[in-house]
């Protein structure tokens, strides 16, 4: 197995991990702080992708489209929280699952009405197309490299906000004991709306970066959402550190499994057995990992301290 290929696959794993992290961060905060199971998180990812594509076409500038799309998704997230989700916090999880599933259907149909059911063309800007030569023999797509950098920057920023600012303190407090935070006179409603909006914007960021490399079509969010749930279960529900760790573990395991499991199996088993078992096992790996984590540490690898 050559070293450059291994390195390239590690970068691929990192890039998938970054996308998963952006999605997981919002989802896990909303679950940890508001005790809300939000299945519609994938819809916000879709909204981000569509808004970015539309704004890019409209303004002709990717740099302008990004903040516009982020602001748009933030706004959509806040409106959804105020209109639909506020009444659900006190209800049990089944009601939340039903209601947010309804939101998925609503958003998918809305997007189909506005943009049509066909996948739309989402371009990467010219200055982000092409390759970077990281060192001799390793050419990596520039856009994917940019995704990694943006993702790491956002992770650093989130770490700063959560550990060093007043908002972050409230978020951490809310995650460990909501009732006490409310009792101390914090405007918990506003905090909820802000956190939900920020989570939506992060999902939107993931969506707008996914647009040029994946498919922009109604229902695109549900495909990634399942993996995101695996991430937060592995990392520990409600914990940002858990989301970071879970995302990178899942990204790496999934990518390296898809790349190297079959060749590795072929050295042990017969080639035809490896052909059958390789792809099947590779697509199950992250779920087996999740099952193992649940068996050993049911609360996840980095549980939020205190508990709600």
């Amino acid at each position: 197995m050559n070293l450059i290929l291994l390195l390239e696959q590690t970068l691929n794993g990192l890039q998938l991990g970054v996308m998963l992290f952006l999605m997981a961060a919002g989802l896990t905060l909303v679950f940890g702080i508001m005790n809300l199971v939000n299945l519609a998180h994938g819809s916000l990812y879709m909204v981000g992708a569509y808004l970015a594509t539309a704004f890019f076409q409209w303004t002709g500038s990717f740099l302008l489209a990004v903040p516009l799309a982020l602001a748009g998704t933030l706004l959509v997230g806040m409106v959804v929280e105020i209109v639909a989700l506020r009444t659900l916090y006190e209800r049990d999880h089944l009601d939340q699952v039903l209601a947010t599933f309804g939101l998925i259907l609503f958003f998918n149909e809305l997007i189909a009405i506005l943009w049509g059911r066909a996948a739309i063309y989402a371009a990467a800007p010219a200055w982000l197309s092409g390759h970077v030569e990281l060192f001799a023999g390793l050419r990596y797509p520039l856009f994917r490299f940019a995704i990694i950098l943006v993702g790491l920057a956002v992770a650093a920023l989130l770490w700063y906000v959560v550990t060093r600012t007043r908002l972050g303190m409230l978020i951490r407090a809310g995650a460990s004991n909501r009732t006490m935070v409310a009792a101390l006179g914090v405007n918990i409603r506003l905090l909820y709306t802000v956190v939900f909006g920020c989570g939506a914007a992060l999902a939107g960021l993931a969506g707008l970066m996914a647009g040029p490399i994946y498919v922009v079509q109604p229902g695109m969010g549900e495909e990634i959402l399942i993996q995101v749930f695996v991430v937060i279960v592995i990392g520990g529900i409600g914990s940002i550190r858990g989301a970071v760790a879970g995302a990178f573990i899942v990204g790496m395991v999934d990518t390296l499994g898809r790349a190297f499991l079959k060749p590795t199996l072929a050295t042990v088993l017969s080639p035809s057995a490896a052909d059958t078992a390789g792809p099947a096992l590779a697509s199950m790996l992250i779920y087996m990992l999740m099952a193992a984590v649940l068996a050993v540490r049911p609360e996840g690898l980095f549980p939020a301290r205190g508990g709600g």
């Binding site: 049509g116 490399i213 990634i224 792809p279």
Partner: protein, 394 residues
């Protein structure tokens, strides 16, 4: 007073039920089942549009009879498809069921329909079971048997003398059929055979592996959204110039608007293309573009043919819908202006037809989307590999 009202209602209801079958005899009812919701709903939209266009061309009268087409949504699920078919048969009492995109849905729907003594006119899915042992005199298709299209690509690549081919498909029944169809005619060396997860969106890991293997050519089957992701990432990874890409059901008029230049230079095989030269096709393509403002796609072309096939059958028996033997005999002749030109039905009711090599080339308008262009026929009058297993003789 109240009692007599109720009696009146019951009487009306009974009269209504009694009258329904009598009315149904004078009217042709076609149940058209496809996927109309979800991400795959776009395919159903093209099929429905084409059915409507066929009705327009026939003056809204199929076979000269007053016609009602009832559309049903299978939601991409076999069990839902079967329920919808049951509803078409029992509630609407249709004489024909048509449509169906997916092989797994078709395998649930076709037996339900034919066992009820009703015609099933498939307009896309062609699972090998229905071409072989499960063939039925009430089942016809206006598309193809699944293996045929990749067989054509395998033949072409074999004839080109290509070797060291890297082949990829999603890991499910049709994916395996496609690769086995390909291997039936391609005898050169295969570098690696890779199956990815059904519905996968990111192929970067697989593409890195592919590059490391340095194949001479690549053959893939990635329908719908998977194809859009794959093509974009193939171009983005800079593989387009390095390894020529050949595919089936990956680049079509639905996916091209979403991938644009990333499709350029793509090779496909297909039984039909919008630029196929025959009067029926030219009329279909021109009118489709005029009515809907976009290019038609093969799913739609087949559905258009489905309605014309039914029209030819009903016309042959002069509107006597009870004469099923007569309609079967008429459909076996395939006497209608098909979008693929003249063709014959094999004993298993699958078309014996040509398959062409297509290439995605730059569109006529500058900056416009690429279009598929026929290069040359690969197979003429190609039969599927399963008809000998079908016990039907005629």
């Amino acid at each position: 007073m109240r009692m007599s009202f109720r009696a009146l209602f019951v009487g009306l209801a009974v009269a209504g039920f009694a009258a329904a079958p009598a009315l149904a005899q004078q009217k042709l009812k076609i149940g058209f089942i496809t996927t109309l919701s979800g991400p795959q709903g776009i395919i159903g939209e093209h099929m429905k549009n084409s059915v409507e266009l066929a009705l327009d061309h026939l003056g809204r009268k199929v076979g000269g009879l007053e016609t009602e087409v009832i559309y049903g949504d299978d939601q991409f699920k076999p069990d839902v498809g079967k329920q919808v078919a049951d509803e078409m048969l029992k509630k609407h009492q249709v004489q024909f069921v048509s449509g169906i995109i997916w092989s797994n849905v078709m395998l649930a729907v076709a037996p339900t329909v034919t066992q009820a003594g009703t015609f099933m006119i498939g307009t896309n899915a062609g699972p090998h079971d229905l071409a072989g042992k499960m063939c039925n005199e009430l089942f016809f298709t206006t598309s193809w048997q699944n293996d045929q299209t990749p067989e054509a690509m395998g033949k072409y690549m074999q004839d080109q003398g290509l070797t060291d081919v890297y082949i990829m498909a999603p890991n499910y029944a049709a994916g395996k059929d496609m690769l086995s169809g390909f291997k039936r005619y391609f005898k050169g060396r295969i570098v690696d055979e890779v199956y990815t997860k059904l519905g996968q969106t990111d192929y970067q890991a697989e593409l890195s592996q592919l590059r490391a293997k340095k194949p001479k050519a690549v053959f893939v089957f990635y329908p719908g959204g998977m194809g859009i992701s794959f093509l974009r990432q193939y171009s983005e990874a800079g593989l387009r110039g390095q390894f020529p890409l050949y595919s089936v059901y990956t680049v079509d008029e639905i996916t091209i608007p979403a991938v644009k230049h990333a499709a350029l230079g793509q090779w496909e095989t297909r039984f039909w293309s919008p630029d196929l030269k025959n009067p029926a096709n030219e009329k279909y393509v021109a009118d489709y573009r005029k009515k809907y403002g976009k290019w038609p796609v093969f799913y739609g072309a087949q559905s258009y043919d489905g309605i014309l096939l039914i029209d030819s059958a009903v016309r042959a028996v002069k509107g006597n819908l009870a004469d099923k033997k007569g309609m079967i005999a008429a459909m076996r002749k395939a006497e209608f202006a098909s979008i693929r030109g003249k063709f014959a039905y094999n004993t298993n009711h699958f078309p014996i037809q040509n398959f062409y090599l297509l290439k995605a080339v730059a569109g006529a308008t500058p900056g416009g989307d690429p279009v598929m262009e026929i290069q040359k026929p690969v197979f003429t009058n190609h039969k599927d590999a399963y008809y000998k297993e079908c016990p039907m003789k005629w």
